[in-house]
Subunit: 473 residues, 2 copies
């Protein structure tokens, strides 16, 4: 009898692979070890759960553990942590509630995800200081805000542990420090502001949302300030201070009274398990994989936030831990393991984030230094345009930065920010990047026009037109 396909980690990549493999090859045994309780949940929704727009954590689950077991016939073991991989013996060592055991595998998928980076600040262990790294942590944050005592009482009945009670019993915060001005920081600033807390965002770099480029980030910072958020740029956090609870945050620009803090300074791939097994990591620190998700060890695959993916613009491995990449790579590996070899697909680094009333999006290579490292001679323009025909009511400004390569005229990337029509407009540019289009080719795209939806020349076309002019000039 063949050993099973073993999957380590039951979120997007892992469960996509397990489901796809089982569907295409029902005779394959598929065994998933998940160290926590939750599987296949929408971590991207956690800020909106804290904000209160999503009522229950369960709402974030797309497929439950039971459904995987009963409907998809996946042998899913929650509370099972894989602590070692032996790539020679083709076994994993598993800590379970019933003890430790070794499990042989035919093929192995490492989909251990990523974790919130915990910076070495003094006072990280004070009550009221959180990271947003899991369903449980989001519940704790929401409990600490506890504007909603009845809901909490109901929730705590359903077996999620005692921390919720503890946090709900503490005093509700007045001022919240958000440490880190990336996606999570921006989304959480919105969530806290929605609860009428005073919000401070601290960012070490000169701009928020660094991967979105300075021009977009400046618009976001101004918008956050308009919303009453205190934005502290070029500000390094040094420590949290307090007794049991945090009472202030100390930075290189002074101290600020806060009684809650959310630390979102980035994520790191959970690559230690693979590394300890002698599997190669890439320069990014994530697990190195080929176009089919294969690691350096035979029969071992990796996918999701713990693994690299090929950036189609630079041609180099990249680490952009996002949901679509994880789902897609997991699904492709499941298909490969079911007997139909399927590449996991490259990425172009497309991302979008909501920042209060703004949509902010990016794709490709925007950073000029990074472009030069990849061998390009970047030329960039930033334009401001309208989202609708000039005469049609309700239009808003949209700002687009577009970058191209001087020598080849190739499109390299773009960022956008505005109140509407940003999130899907970036996809036009992403598609052009997949097709390796020149900026002039983008200028000639036949895009949709009607007065309620864009000017005759869509802002993407206008940006390309201006950039093409500059590239020729």
């Amino acid at each position: 009898m063949t050993d099973p396909l073993v999957v380590v980690g039951g979120d997007a990549a892992g469960m996509s692979a397990a489901s796809k493999c089982k569907r295409d090859s029902p005779e394959t045994d598929v065994l998933v070890f998940e160290k926590g309780e939750w599987v296949s949940y929408g971590a991207c929704g956690l800020p909106y759960y804290v904000k209160g727009e999503i009522r229950e954590l369960d709402d974030l689950v797309s497929v439950t553990a039971e459904e995987f077991r009963e409907e998809r016939d996946v042998d899913l073991r929650t509370n099972h942590e894989v602590v070692a991989i032996d790539t020679e013996a083709r076994t994993v060592t598993v800590d379970s509630p019933d003890g430790t055991f070794d499990q042989p595998y035919e093929d192995l998928l490492v989909s251990t995800g990523a974790r919130a980076v915990e910076p070495p600040f003094e006072g990280m262990d004070l009550d009221g200081v959180f990271t947003l790294h899991s369903m449980e942590s989001a519940r704790d944050v929401r409990a600490y805000l506890h504007e909603d005592a009845e809901w909490l009482a109901a929730e705590t009945g359903s077996g999620y542990g005692e921390t919720v009670h503890e946090y709900a019993a503490m005093e509700s915060p007045d001022a919240v420090a958000v440490v880190g001005g990336g996606y999570i920081g921006i989304e959480m600033a919105e969530a806290f502001a929605a609860h009428d807390h005073e919000v401070h965002v601290f960012e070490m770099l000169p701009t928020l949302l660094q991967p979105f480029g300075e021009a977009a980030a400046d618009v976001v910072a101004e918008h956050l300030r308009d919303q009453g958020v205190h934005v502290h740029l070029n500000t390094a956090v040094e420590s949290f201070e307090g007794d049991a609870c945090v009472r202030s945050i100390r930075t290189d620009s002074g101290s600020f009274d806060v009684d809650m803090a959310l630390v979102g300074v980035g994520v790191a791939p959970n690559a230690e398990l693979a590394e300890a097994a002698g599997i190669d990591l890439g320069e990014t620190g994530a697990i190195s994989v080929d176009d089919y998700g294969r690691t350096s060890a035979a029969h071992v695959y990796a996918a999701g936030d713990c693994a690299e993916a090929r950036n189609l613009v630079t041609g180099e491995p990249d680490h952009v831990p996002l949901a679509l990449t994880a789902n897609r790579a997991g699904r492709a590996i499941g298909q490969t393991l079911a007997g139909d070899p399927t590449p996991t697909g490259g990425i172009v680094g497309t991302a979008v984030v909501k920042a209060f009333d703004l949509e902010v999006a990016r794709t490709g290579v925007i950073d000029e230094e990074r472009a030069r490292e990849a061998g390009f001679d970047p030329v960039s323009v930033t334009i401001t345009d309208e989202t609708r025909a000039h005469y049609y009511p309700g239009g808003t400004e949209i700002q687009i930065t577009m970058v191209g390569d001087r020598e080849s005229g190739t499109l390299l990337g773009a960022s956008m920010v505005g109140e509407e029509g940003v999130s899907k407009r970036i996809d036009t540019v992403a598609t052009a990047l997949h097709a390796d289009m020149t900026v002039s080719e983008v200028e000639y795209l036949d895009l949709a026009y009607a007065p309620p939806f864009s000017p005759v020349w869509d802002p993407v076309l206008t940006a390309a037109k201006v950039l093409a002019g500059k590239l020729e000039g």
Copy 2:
């Protein structure tokens, strides 16, 4: 001294060419003859002017005649109609307020636009029966609705003629017949409904919005009915009846009492002037042009709604009279005539229309018969998905039809309909068509995801995934 560049028709294509040529080559004399009063206006905005969302006709003008003359140094003659072209002598004959004269040209651009088709129904000349073919006609329609007497009084002071007074003096209509269920028909149904008139839409074909495909059109028809519009499909209009004013509309499915009618059964290219000069028309009836907008006559170009453009999906000349195509071709020809030969660019037939609360969009080849004529073996799927993450509030349904070629796997086209995120999502597919992508390549696009803006797998990816499966099957 060289003769001037002469442009016939001062709307999108003509004024784009004139402006671009003059900007790039200030020494070239540019002479534009426009038979009416208005230049460079947003005809696409007329339904929203009638609806009342746009207050004044002047708001639709992007650049005024004066600005063209004074700021752009274009010799623009309004109320000058070109009545003949002599391609041998290189002259045009012009009827002007001061008499008829011949004007020599170095190069000639025919940008005479298109007109509303006037079907040979009895009673077309009754009061209350309109087409929407010009700024003036839109003003007449709005005057006839005259819910806004003060505004009318003010407007009629500014020299736009007496018809507005006449129409405003007539009785306000109760029920309006919209004849034709294309763009104009749908947009005007929305405009009339906004004024609380009873609205009937009559369409000869089995579906509204025929170029958008049956699946999208069915959703639109249902939505219009939900909005209280009477939708009559498979219904041929025979005549209008009444005394001075229209009182009823007779169809092959019976008569209906109406006291106003808007006939929007399509547009026809104004190609007669060119045809009379011996210039070749294409099979579509529009003026045939090469990739630089050159007609069959030396030194004569054509652009805009009177001319064909190359459809990049079929490789054949096509006639899709839309604003972006006109602007782009005009601009390219202006650049060419300024000494920098520039192709006008192909089209993929992208279009979007607002239908009450819906956005409806299309691109490429959707119609299976047309696909077969172009040498493809079309395979199509229709999926329904959500516009946001399943747990994020406010998401709505989006329906996508996607078509591919069985043998090559090439993407051929798509249509979409939904309450949000349609108008710019179609651009992703349009861009993929420009790049000649396969359906599988579309499935692997790295599109933007965040819970407020799409599911992890954007509906475009899901449609491509399902279609790719069917193409392989």
